[in-house]
Symmetry: C2
Amino acid sequence: MAPITNGRLLFNEIPTGYPVPGQTTVYDASQTIDLENVPLNGGFLLKTLVLSIDPYLRGRMRDASKQSYSPAFQLGQPISNYGVGVVVRSENSAFQAGDHVYGHFPFQEYFVQTQAGAFRKVDNKHNLPWNVFVGAVGMPGQTAYAAWKEYANAKKGEVAFVTTGAGAVGSLVIQLAKKDGLKVIASAGSDEKVQFMKEIGADVAFNYKTTKTSEVLAKEGPIDVYWDNVGGETLEAALEAANRHARFIECGMISSYNQTPYAVSNLMNIVAKEIKISGFIVGTLLPKYQEAFYTEIPSMIASGEFKLKEDVTKGLEGAGEAILAVQKGTNTGKSVIVVADQ
Amino acid sequence: MAPITNGRLLFNEIPTGYPVPGQTTVYDASQTIDLENVPLNGGFLLKTLVLSIDPYLRGRMRDASKQSYSPAFQLGQPISNYGVGVVVRSENSAFQAGDHVYGHFPFQEYFVQTQAGAFRKVDNKHNLPWNVFVGAVGMPGQTAYAAWKEYANAKKGEVAFVTTGAGAVGSLVIQLAKKDGLKVIASAGSDEKVQFMKEIGADVAFNYKTTKTSEVLAKEGPIDVYWDNVGGETLEAALEAANRHARFIECGMISSYNQTPYAVSNLMNIVAKEIKISGFIVGTLLPKYQEAFYTEIPSMIASGEFKLKEDVTKGLEGAGEAILAVQKGTNTGKSVIVVADQ
């Protein structure tokens, strides 16, 4: 078989505000790969099927000299994130051709890997679509599950406020909170998202672009658990509406990723209301919760007990636009790139 | 015996900025009391010996309609805080004449109380001055002790940053941190305070008015434990200099008590560095730590292992000035009002 095109999405330029498709990242079709003859050097050849687009990717689009919790992307190289692929050929006993694996993928159609330990064989006993393994059964689902279990300390009848409640993480948090018997207030940025949040059980769902968060919380709070994906003005409103001994789970602050951060002035509420704030990175919590997660969540998705929504982009060419949509919140549901169907 | 003057410090006006002596509070000598004949109604007559002046009193000088963790002072009534007094007469079996008690006192020379449960008999087996029982062996000492034990999760060799390190709480925190084997960076607002912080063991002590906090922390950090009595710009510097998994103990934010709060813009560090922030009120932690506190601390003070510094004002007439000094940080050491020697 002749060499075929091996498309890639390259990191091209460090953005100052929102990432610009075709500028921050560019699609490149200049490379080819000979699937039958590419040397494996004891490794395995992976075909990328699905790639995840997540808010945190913006933080990796930085100067490599700046330290942070996740590594900076390298200019001129493919960006990378969680993905699912299928093994085409293997010289490694950990995987054989036809196996599906989950792990960190370059945004590239095919690649050779030698580190088997960096991937997990997907045990798809419920026959879920591969997409789901980068969403509710992937890093975003693990994020929601592990931090909710670790920090929510949820008690039946309490009130939770969940931001970006129609997203990959938030939508699972809403459903975990309802399962624990909480009243759930949830916010998102479109009426379509509000509708979805109601469908998955939010007691109070609102569009923060048309309704003031502080007014909703004043009426429906005080809040005992706050799931923060937003930061800034929304965090300020949550501090104001917090109940005594509230728990704040700090998962992300997308309001500050592409703009000058909004400065929060009412932090004295932390003392006066004895609030506990927990920042976390999912990788730290995962070892403790991974087994329970894979036991519980896939079957609840298969049975329909947990609902999810996806925003699917076909082909790597559209990944730059999908990245921007997630930063702007114009996607609805978990953003995934389907690079190949099988 | 004829009735004698019963001096009081009254709450006279809600301040907008710093509390103004003679305006926010006024000393009043218009009342008298007949110590031999005042009816006790089954209670006891207390003579006030020592009163504590603490930063949090500013928060009680508010409109009574505003809810907060500590009750608002009532206009026209004496302000109140922790104090030590001696029982003059008693009809209550819990106390007898000559007993010394610790509890919440009105700023008033003499008063009759019926609630014995609101006071704790002072067990002064080390023969410490009564002053100490509103400082290192009172609420400020309990604040330092209980929250350090509960939240610092201190590991030998880690770095702690303590603000208001020459104050009643901060100076004890420095000594607790040193006892646990940490490197201690400590800040205060005068060279005299810096000298005291060095005397009690701070490895790095600096005057934040003449040295930039962010520069000291960049050089001496990263910090693993942050004891916050200040908030605002200092909290922002601490977030910037925090190590991964740092613990922030939020005891107070005096920078915001008399001025518009400084708005903090780098809260994303909470997520990226997986920081735990714990706001607390000492009363919540006290039941868990009270016994250990009274076992350990008084003897360590008596032996000189724990050092302390006091700023003593003689007489209730000067209490308004002492309150202002604590808000401005112009006192050095624990501020106490000695109302009577015995």
